[in-house]
Symmetry: C2
Subunit: 150 residues, 2 copies
DNA sequence: TATTGTTATACTCTATAACTATA
DNA sequence: TATAGTTATAGAGTATAACAATA
């Protein structure tokens, strides 16, 4: 007799639905991201903001939000958090006094580099089964879904 | 002169990170799912439960949760919701008096079928750019990430 | 009038710890 | 001692509406 192995229940029609697998895979990656960067206190969304500000010094909050699909209202707390931690510099824009110009502080640049190194290790770990070509193929497929944003 | 087109800011290194694209694509699909099924009141997770119960009549809550990656504690409210709506029948298990045996009511079977039809339309709409082969390839790639669940 | 940032608020998903009743 | 379900609670992401200041 073989060992009695506790098998997991069949999820039914879900297994053929892209949305289901997207959710599951995203949760796995998000959980590993959180573990891998727990020491830094930087979460996925926060790193997103850091990345956009790093690439576009002087950009304003609204533009960051639009590029990441984050609502203006939700940007406020995120930027507050980064400013309070000393990672982002926020000053009234010279061209538009309603807007804030965001940029990374020196500390922010260090944190960004540190996080990026950890994220690369995390992706290599959680995507270990996928080679470079497969990862690119995956990103290409996902990008075509993202383009459907309403 | 060409029209002044408002272009979105470059997201920087994010564009090469699988985790970022997973999050964005998942959010796009989830938002479209919510719109497409708003009349039914059935959310992604709820349909997940319906699908597992449909496939495994008499299954208990814990097993449903394990198969979907949902914690026991979080299953309670979900099953309560489905029972209160009359979609799921919950009765003490004959074999184990600690457990509940779950199954779909007739109304639950109708709701399941109705939701599934809407979900197929939703996936065809939000994944319209991907042909069958590409969707399968995507699911295969995602499944390999899911397998990394800790 | 439209836009930037803000506040307030609500909903959902996920996570942990501690409890009970059964096994 | 382990498991099924429960309760309470907390953190995080996302969504909408309304407001003040500025364009």
């Amino acid at each position: 007799m073989a060992d009695e192995v506790e098998r997991e229940a069949d999820v039914g029609v879900l297994s053929a639905l892209v949305g289901y697998h997207l959710r599951r895979a995203t949760n796995v990656v998000a959980a590993d991201f959180a573990r891998s960067l727990s020491e830094t206190g930087v979460r996925q969304v926060l790193f997103g903001v850091l990345s956009v500000v790093e690439r576009n010094p002087g950009i304003n909050q609204g533009s960051v939000g639009r590029s990441l699909g984050i609502q203006r209202a939700n940007m406020v707390a995120l930027v507050n958090e980064l400013v309070e931690r000393g990672l982002v510099d926020r000053r009234v824009s010279a061209e538009d006094r309603r807007a804030f110009a965001l940029s990374l502080t020196d500390e922010g640049k260090c944190a960004y580099a540190d996080c990026l190194a950890r994220i690369r290790a995390h992706e290599d770990s959680v995507l270990g089964d996928l080679d470079t070509r497969e990862r690119k193929r995956l990103i290409a497929l996902l990008s075509r879904i993202e383009a459907k944003e309403s």
